[in-house]
Symmetry: C2
Subunit: 151 residues, 2 copies
Amino acid sequence: MNSAADQAIETIQREMTSFARRARALAGRLHPELSLVSYTLLGHLEESGGCRATDLADHYALDKSTVSRQVAVLEREGLVERRQDTADQRVQVLQLTDAGRRILGRVTDRRRAAVGERLSGWSEEDLARFASYLRRYNAGGPGDVPAAPDA
Amino acid sequence: MNSAADQAIETIQREMTSFARRARALAGRLHPELSLVSYTLLGHLEESGGCRATDLADHYALDKSTVSRQVAVLEREGLVERRQDTADQRVQVLQLTDAGRRILGRVTDRRRAAVGERLSGWSEEDLARFASYLRRYNAGGPGDVPAAPDA
DNA sequence: ACGTTCTGGTTGCAGAATACAACCACGAGC
DNA sequence: GCTCGTGGTTGTATTCTGCAACCAGAACGT
């Protein structure tokens, strides 16, 4: 099958890859104080309103050991805190601290500004459509839970 | 300023970030024989039809030392070859070998299949539009970072 | 109750990717 | 011919990562 759809898929996979490739460097330049990993972990904590380390690992396809270490760093920096779950003593519920929320907010602002600048010439309609495509792409996918469109 | 456009930009930056975060793991699962880095470097060589290491570094916002080492690996594996530029003895033009082209093709196929599966429910029109948005976004200034207004 | 298995998490270890700085070689301009 | 800029490599240190081994608490079966 070599249709127009195929062409589009080829382009999508190439452009998404290209973007991903640059993302780390972008994060490094835009907010050296919060690595791309840390940023996304904090972001997920905010979105989810607190979750377990395992959830983070699943969500980002990381090994639980990696998450464990990353979280340890974030905790040492006072950006997240862990609370033992009362029901299950194994579980540590992770949550943003106020400091974490503050830093996350600052970094998000800066990122949004950067992205916004890049999107400055776009019409509101295009922006909305692009956003919805991205959300749909990330949400969808086999092997991935259809993810409640809550947040 | 909290317009619809702002909302869209917020979403775009979040979703792009989320995607980038997973990309490495995806590559690891999908084609362990070719890391995300190697894949993108080979991809750029194919697209460009051969270029210098410096071009790769610029394009992906990598340090030239990083590229140098990555290319060394790819050369050792016989996937790229370097030719001294006749005009400028400093320059090494990098090009895919047949083996490199073969592997790149295989991996691209696999990636396209994965992406395609994720996009299976999409209309042809949506695919085309999504692709064009991504291309437009990535093309937005090879100067790369939209120059953080903060720093 | 007790042992087995499962789940959430940490730690030891090793490998890969990366940046920065120092360096070498060549080319260009004065 | 010097000096400076450019393309590339190498030394060094850091960070991210996965895998495997491990520990502790829960769940389940007998």
